[in-house]
């Protein structure tokens, strides 16, 4: 079976800085894959290349068997490959409900579905998913008034209502109150199991990723350093060195 996402030998440089060098990774359908590495090792750059945020210098990226490295951001999102942002992006002057409703997928309806009342589609689904991430009681507040951690949860719920096949999450636990991290891990797992969304998660927190991922890739200085099961990665001396060296 072909992997859902197949990144082959992708390189990307910014001026003199080589952010990714010949990076390859595969994510199978239904998997939770992890991408780890010290700060500045090129993880976010990898995400940006996958979702079409910038053109890659070389290499190929396949999603559902289709080469997507030349497609635009919006087109890739409509194929069902979505990302959340490390810096968190929500629509600040709209309420949480409005953020959710406009994140419904419009893949089939085209423009005419935009001319329907804003309450015509997905209201219950939006409430259910806000409940799922624990923001139900905040649903009519402006998204910009939420705390950073709550905005991250909202961004996650917005991604879920879009029904992607695959979701790339850039440091979902960064900035989240440590007491809530276990709950978030649980929700990520449920989104994967119950909604069938394949996940690729960038994570800085080793404990989190060991708990979450089935398969882990580790970047260092823009190159793939190691890959394997959480167990393999935990015991890989190169990974330990990279992390100790960087801190």
């Amino acid at each position: 079976m072909q992997p859902l996402l197949d990144v082959q030998n992708v390189s990307k440089a910014f001026g003199g800085v080589i952010a990714n060098k010949n990076v390859s990774l595969k994510v199978e359908k239904g998997q939770i894959a992890g991408l780890i590495g010290p700060n500045g090792s090129g993880k976010t750059t990898m995400f940006n290349s996958i979702v079409g945020y910038h053109p890659v210098d070389s290499g190929q990226i396949f999603f559902k068997g289709r080469e997507i490295s030349r497609l635009r951001v919006g087109a890739i999102a409509r194929l069902g490959l979505l990302r959340t942002f490390q810096q968190t992006r929500i629509y600040g002057k709209m309420t949480c409900m409005e953020n959710m409703l406009i994140s419904l997928p419009d893949r089939t309806g085209g423009f005419s579905s935009l001319l329907r009342s804003r309450h015509a589609l997905g209201v219950q689904r939006a409430k259910d998913l806000l409940e799922f991430v624990g923001l139900y009681s905040k649903r009519y507040l402006y998204a910009g008034d939420l705390s950073f951690g709550q905005q991250k949860l909202l961004e996650f719920a917005m991604a879920l209502i879009n029904e992607p096949e695959m979701l790339l999450l850039d440091e979902p636990t960064a900035g989240i109150n440590p007491t809530l991290i276990n709950g978030l891990i649980d929700r990520l797992k449920r989104a994967n199991k119950e909604l069938g969304i394949t996940l690729l998660v960038i994570e800085h927190n080793m404990r989190v990723i060991m708990n979450l991922a089935d398969h882990i890739y580790c970047l260092a200085h823009g190159e793939m350093l190691a890959e394997g099961s959480p167990e393999d990665i935990r015991n890989d001396s190169r990974v330990i060195d990279a992390y100790l060296g960087a801190h």
């Binding site: 979702v51 945020y53 951001v73 919006g74 999102a77 409509r78 979505l82 990302r83 942002f85 992006r89 929500i90 629509y91 600040g92 002057k93 709209m94 309420t95 409005e98 409703l101 406009i102 994140s103 997928p105 419009d106 893949r107 423009f111 579905s113 935009l114 001319l115 329907r116 009342s117 804003r118 015509a120 589609l121 409430k127 649903r139 009519y140 507040l141 917005m158 879009n162």
Partner: protein, 350 residues
């Protein structure tokens, strides 16, 4: 009283004042016509600048295009346009009887709207791929360029402008254009009220708040931006068509493509009233227009200085505009509060 009934009451009151004005204030009728058109200018600007966060300094171009296209259609239905403009619209050869005048208007105004909409489509496909700040800069030169082009085009009278068709004496054009202006303002308002209640309204708000995010979520952002500009231009074009007839004479630079005055005023009216709100542009246009008329009447010679000061005061003290400020003080009057929405949910679920 509920908020919905406030909204309805405000609309009914405006409609009543609007319909009765020809009897109440007959001598100010043409000023009131312009006020209704100014409301259209502010509303259509706000669709871009307020609701979508795309500040256009070039919207007056669609106003001017509509003005010329309407007048040209009115004439060309019955006379060769070149001969008409060469004669400066004068002479006894170019007479419009009642039916010709009305037919010309009925055809000309939609043509004006469509011509402006097509121009917005073409321009939008070129410059709406850019992000907000670059778009704003790109629109800066539009009015000047359009004015220069119109001033060099003989068919529409070039630099000496174009006289709109003179109606037969039997038609009271003051009242006619008054009601046309009122009808256009009402139509624009109701259309936008509907548009902002749809998912499209949310989609352009999303562009305003974070366009990168909207794109990453799979929105057709460029298409949505172009559609918004086309809608804005359509109503602006019709407003231009009426305004040209109201002024009776179209000067390419002082009337049609007057970026320094009308082009700037439409922005100020929207900001004064409250960007990104439905009623803001209406209230802003009203307040601004009355101030402007007062300045031009009582501060002659200093009117531009006074207007400049007003602009500074607006930007410094009312960055949110009148409605934005009122909304902050009495949130419940302008939209349901979070508590009310939750209460409504609870009722629905019970």
């Amino acid at each position: 009283m509920t908020r919905k009934s406030y909204h309805l009451l405000a609309m009914l009151a405006l409609a009543a004042i609007g319909l009765a004005a020809p009897w109440l204030l007959p001598s100010y009728l043409s000023q009131f016509s312009k006020l209704w058109l100014f409301i259209v200018l502010a509303l259509t600007w706000d669709l871009m600048g307020g609701q979508m966060g795309y500040n256009s300094f070039g919207n007056v171009v669609f106003f001017g295009i509509g003005m010329y296209a309407t007048a040209a259609t009115q004439v060309a239905l019955y006379y060769p346009l070149a001969a008409y403009t060469a004669a400066k619209g004068g002479g006894t050869e170019f007479i419009f009887n009642t039916s010709q005048f009305f037919t010309g208007l009925a055809a000309g105004l939609p043509v004006g709207g469509l011509a402006a909409a097509i121009a917005a489509l073409a321009l939008g496909l070129i410059i709406l791929g850019m992000r907000g700040h670059y778009f704003a800069i790109a629109t800066l030169g539009l009015a000047i360029a359009a004015g220069e082009l119109a001033a060099g085009w003989d068919l529409i009278g070039a630099g000496s402008g174009m006289v709109t068709p003179t109606p037969p004496d039997s038609i009271d054009t003051t009242v006619l254009f008054y009601y046309l202006s009122l009808a256009l303002a009402a139509l624009t308002f109701l259309f936008l009220a509907w548009l902002y209640s749809t998912r499209f309204g949310l989609a352009i708000n999303a562009i305003r708040d974070d366009e990168d995010k909207a794109e990453a979520m799979g929105h057709h952002t460029t298409r949505n931006k172009v559609v918004a500009w086309v809608i804005s231009a359509f109503f602006l074009g019709i407003a231009g068509g009426i305004f040209g007839n109201l002024s009776k004479f179209i000067d390419p630079i002082d009337v049609a493509f007057n970026g320094a005055e009308i082009g700037v005023w439409m922005i100020l009216m929207a900001i004064l009233g409250g960007k990104g709100t439905l009623w803001g542009p209406v209230i802003g246009a009203g307040v601004f227009y009355i101030m402007k008329e007062l300045f031009w009447t009582y501060l002659l010679g200093w009117q531009r200085v006074a207007l400049g000061l007003l602009i500074v005061i607006i930007v410094v003290f009312f960055p949110q505009g009148i409605v934005g400020w009122l909304k902050e003080r009495w949130p419940g009057r302008f939209g349901p509060t979070a508590e009310e929405m939750e209460a409504a949910d609870a009722k629905g679920e019970a």
